[in-house]
């Protein structure tokens, strides 16, 4: 089977256009969340979850998910964590106030997902701030903080990698491939997220 990640379809679809080329190429396989089987975690390199993810279901799969990550699997998580499904996770913290300044976005560290993409490209849509995020998912211990929101630069994006290559990329807002006015940026981000999700188990296989 071709190396692939799973797009976990939690709504009625169709999957977003930004991911279409990967689905067509077979590097991304669409699986409805209600049809997700433990064996899917064995064969996939990574997994993309949307803001529609059924987190009650994911919480119930915590053991499978832990094994997946420990063996190099990577998860791209978009949205608000309300049911922690990895040990050490804590629920989303909404911003106390949502004034314009509270919604400002700033890059905190270099990362392949955001290389060459200004935070300003993500800060507003049609001049309106707030689509990117309205709070943050508290990072796991050892996470690298990638983007901050508001004057306190609360971690709206972060990456958490284990020594074995598995891990999490967390964006605490609407699906990251849909939050720019620039369609090319959205496609670029989608491409990079798919590549990131494939990398952990691919690198283990090469090693």
């Amino acid at each position: 089977m071709k190396r692939h990640s799973l797009y976990v379809e939690s709504d009625d679809g169709p999957p977003p256009a930004q991911l279409a080329s990967h689905i067509a190429a077979g590097t991304l396989r669409v699986v409805r969340q209600v049809d997700l089987r433990p064996s899917d975690f064995d064969t996939a390199c990574g997994l993309l979850a949307t803001a529609y993810l059924d987190q009650i279901d994911f919480e119930a799969r915590a053991t499978t998910i832990a094994e997946f990550i420990e063996t190099g699997g990577r998860i791209v998580f978009n949205g608000h964590i309300v049911r922690p499904f990895i040990k050490g996770m804590h629920p989303f913290v909404p911003l106390a106030t949502q004034r314009r300044n509270d919604l400002a976005i700033e890059r905190l560290a270099a990362h392949s997902i955001f290389a060459g993409i200004s935070a300003q490209v993500h800060a507003t849509q049609r001049g309106v701030a707030g689509f990117y995020g309205r709070g943050h998912n508290p990072p796991l211990v050892g996470a690298t903080l990638l983007s901050g929101i508001g004057p306190d630069r609360l971690p709206v994006d972060w990456e958490w990698l284990l020594p074995g290559g598995g891990g999490l990329f967390v964006h605490s807002g609407n699906d990251l491939w849909s939050v720019s006015d620039d369609a090319d940026v959205n496609t670029t981000v989608a491409d990079r997220l798919v590549a990131w999700s494939l990398a952990g188990r691919t690198e283990r296989a090469v090693a």
């Binding site: 939690s10 803001a51 059924d54 989303f92 309106v128």
Partner: protein
């Protein structure tokens, strides 16, 4: 009060249904997959929040229809493709204009069409306006509560298609409230859920043998 709500587990569902602001309105929360195991007739109303995946409800179409035939009330909120799992729904999606309010003096055009309905003791026009996803073509005899600029139904009550009652909305307040976004959606839920609880509170459990219409 006797309201059963379906919890499909998205963050915005959990925040809206389990969060302290509205949890007290719901006597029980169930997963879509549990619909086959629950005695729906014990509840005065069943609520399906916005953006619940239709493919998780369609396996239970028969039970939902039986509940309606026994006089039950089903509330289906926006973007959950109610036309796929409830009878007599004719829905037309529209391209959503998220940006209408950027124009000075603009108006989404949403109107209250049945101002005497008790819901509007709790909701004002401004509590209905964030954006639109589509409109319904209700059957003759249905009561349209909210319409778009062209007069097409956005929220309506259907007590003619079945012996029960269907309350349909193309508005999606749970999604935005649960994402801590758009204060109008919170105002809508404040009023809507208080009205629903009040409305259902006086009724007894529906009768599964006598398919009588609610009065």
């Amino acid at each position: 009060m006797s309201i059963l709500a379906v919890n499909a587990g998205a963050a915005f569902h959990i925040e809206s249904l389990e969060g302290p602001r509205y949890r007290h309105f719901f006597d029980r929360l169930i997963r879509p997959e549990e619909l086959g195991d629950v005695a729906l007739d014990a509840y005065g109303a069943m609520l399906v929040p916005c953006r619940t995946a239709a493919h998780r409800l369609t396996p239970h179409v028969g039970r939902l229809l039986s509940y309606l035939n026994a006089g039950g009330t089903i509330v289906a909120m926006g973007e959950c493709h109610s036309e796929r799992w409830l009878p007599g729904i004719h829905f037309t999606p529209v391209e959503t204009n998220f940006w209408w309010w950027l124009e000075p003096g603009s108006d989404l055009g949403v109107t209250i069409t049945s101002p005497a309905h008790p819901l509007f003791r709790r909701l004002k026009r401004r509590d209905l306006a964030w954006h639109l996803h589509g409109h319904f073509a209700p059957p003759s005899g249905a009561e349209v509560l909210v319409a778009d600029r062209e007069g097409r139904a956005v929220v309506y009550v259907d007590e003619v298609t079945t012996p029960g009652r269907m309350i349909l909305s193309s508005l999606d307040p749970f999604f935005h409230h649960g994402h801590h976004f758009m204060p109008a959606t919170t105002r809508f839920l404040d009023g809507f859920l208080a009205w629903l609880a009040e409305d259902v509170g006086g009724s007894t459990a529906v009768d599964s043998t006598l398919a009588g219409k609610r009065t």
